[in-house]
Symmetry: C2
Subunit: 408 residues, 2 copies
């Protein structure tokens, strides 16, 4: 089935808004095996919108429209669509009651409420659990038109809720496209490629692809199969790849390293303290983004100056002088020191040069030492990260969290 | 002048890529007074692309196309366009030489290099300073077609470099749209509205608009005037608004609070140390995102546990017991303690409840105390931020940096 998306909103055409709705809908549709052949963004001028919808209807059978369902005069999507499809807009008392409930305690702008409660006479409504504008499904003349609000949160709720089973039922027995992403840290694209080239070449369904992203490699496995076997087919290839790459794969899909590390720390009942230099607080920030982080995070220190490293982490000034602040010895002492200071089971020490200045021939920008201190002693790794300052901070934080993950 | 944008790439239609290029181009065009009437995203199938371009050419006189200029067989934008416009693709020796220079030291894939060096016979080329695919300007049959690479960094360089003056010259004496955004912290939308309602109502050019964004209010001033007066017209309104809101306006356009604070700290030769609880390192992370931060940032501590607050910041355990860790007294002691420990001129102390758990009737989730310690003593402010955990962390970091900015 071929479909198009129409995003309505002058702010998109002015570049004031990046159209993330279209990408979200496109991804959901792709997962259902519905192929989006075009995405159209258009403003809320009557003639432009009318013409766009008319053209789109000529090309495909399924159209998903977002935006222009609000209460103001500017919002004309329902009006344009009704005119185009020869439908009358009628007041839906159920929707109106819902809007009034939502506004309870506030003055209800009656005209606005009534405008939002109007739907094409033969349309089905999709309830909006988090806002006032309902969604609409209009099936007419062999065409299906779905109207959703432009507010991303409302659109997503409807897409993932009511609409998904509706689309599934419309598809009948068609095949589903399913995709899974394996995330790899610590290997380059060519290294990954070498290890799994035969798996990649062997098959086109599922298809295996590589994408370099912020210092790591993402392996996508995408296949199109009947609903009852699609999970198993993807899983078989995932298992083959895991057999080759082992623990270099740190997570899948939407998982984050901080989320995984937090889960492992909680599960094992361990607490961590972090001493950062070049990452400037980013590792602590990421570890404390996870709800309940006070269970496992005790203490973080950002020791930018050598003095701070000496006083608060017990890194001897003589060691810093002899080996330099960016050295494996200092990283280890930082990890050890913060573990003790923070009364934690584990300590992370990160020291490096985030740039753009501060690099030298022997210690270039991007050089980072990361050490993990545990009851078994200290381990330390050396990294040389390419990129700008924020890039290097991010990659160093990723390296530190991955070292922690592997230990756990 | 009306124009359309065509974004080419199957990954956009699959939802794997959010089309940020279109928003960037649309914004640039808007600033030139060129109105984008539609944005079209289409895959790299010959027929779909051909049809899209053909339709677009019928509707407008200026088309900006991005994507599909790469070296592989999938990249067909130049080929489709040439067929549609009745042009031959010819090899440009200058571009070819440039590509070879860029690949120096690596094996040159000859076929790929030659493919990228082909341009329509009557086209002008736009050099690519950061990649291999050149941009193209084709003026034919009263239509202007601009082709840019899909790689955002390359597209932006060309758009801001060579292309901007070209478009300016094409516009002749038309008016420019110019926009400026004033960013306000510490006031709600209705408060801002009340203070400047008359300025907003008084005029439609420049037009003044409000946008609530991540806990702060952005005021946009957008006007369309002749090039020689546009700056002054916007400035006049900006000055009126500044007269009403004063130092609540912390910055403009792309400025960040950490960037402003860093500049002020450097200028005044002051150093800062930061003690964070609920923000978990985010304030230190933001302050150290600025190159050269070791000049003004000495020390950060994330004291999650009460113990850490006592031991490293000298906050008396009895005080924490009496007033609670989230209290103005503890915030002040944290600021004072870290200022001393970090041997800094200034100290920030932040304590609060980021949630989702840990809140109570008297101390709900979102309650945050921020204190600034300076040679003149401690100041402290109480905040109650709405939102989820990461939202509250962000707003608290914004509050802390703004307190620092106002002091400086």
């Amino acid at each position: 089935m071929r479909a198009e998306i129409v995003s309505v909103g002058t702010e998109i055409l002015l570049g004031n808004l990046v159209d993330t709705n279209a990408a979200f809908i496109a991804e959901k549709m792709a997962s259902l095996g519905i192929s989006i052949s075009r995405i159209n963004a258009v403003g809320d001028r009557w003639q432009d919108l009318y013409q766009t919808l008319e053209e789109t209807l000529r090309r495909v059978d399924l159209i998903v429209i977002t935006g222009g369902l609000g209460p103001t005069e500017d919002d004309i999507t329902k009006e344009v669509l009704s005119r185009l499809m020869g439908e009358n807009l009628v007041l839906d008392e159920g929707i109106l009651a819902g809007i009034r409930r939502r506004f309870r305690g506030h003055r209800i702008p009656e005209k606005a409420a009534r405008k939002q409660a109007m739907i094409p006479a033969s349309a089905k409504k999709i309830p909006n659990p988090v806002g006032t504008a309902p969604g609409i499904i209009l099936e007419k003349d062999d065409k299906t038109i779905i109207l959703l609000p432009g507010v991303p949160r409302e659109m997503r709720k409807m897409m993932e809720g009511e609409l998904y089973p509706y689309l599934l039922s419309r598809l009948g027995t068609e095949e589903l496209i399913s995709s899974r992403t394996l995330k790899v840290w610590g290997m380059g694209e060519s290294q990954v490629n070498e290890k799994i080239a035969d798996i990649m070449l062997r098959q086109s369904n599922p298809k295996v692809g590589l994408l370099a992203k912020r210092g790591e490699i993402h392996i996508s496995i995408t296949g199109q199969f009947a609903p009852e076997v699609v999970g198993e087919k993807i899983k078989t290839v995932e298992d083959q790849i895991r057999g080759r790459l082992g623990s270099s794969i740190w997570g899948v899909d939407e998982e984050t390293l901080e989320g995984i590390v937090a889960r492992l720390l909680k599960k094992r009942g361990l607490r961590i303290a972090v001493a950062e230099s070049c990452t400037g607080g980013l590792v602590s920030h990421r570890l404390t983004n996870i709800p309940g982080s006070s269970d496992y995070f005790t203490y973080g220190i950002i020791g930018y100056s050598n003095q701070a490293k000496s006083i608060f982490l017990g890194v001897p000034a003589s060691l810093i002088k002899r080996r330099g602040a960016v050295s494996p010895e200092v990283a280890k002492k930082m990890a050890q020191g913060v573990r003790k200071a923070g009364e934690a089971h584990l300590g992370l020490g990160i020291t490096g040069i985030a740039g753009p200045s501060g690099g030298s021939r022997n210690k270039p920008v991007g050089l980072v030492y990361i050490s993990l201190s545990s009851p078994e002693g200290e381990i330390c790794e050396r990294f040389l990260f390419p990129g700008g300052r924020e890039d290097i901070k991010w990659k160093a934080s990723q390296g530190a969290l991955d070292m922690l993950r592997k230990y756990l």
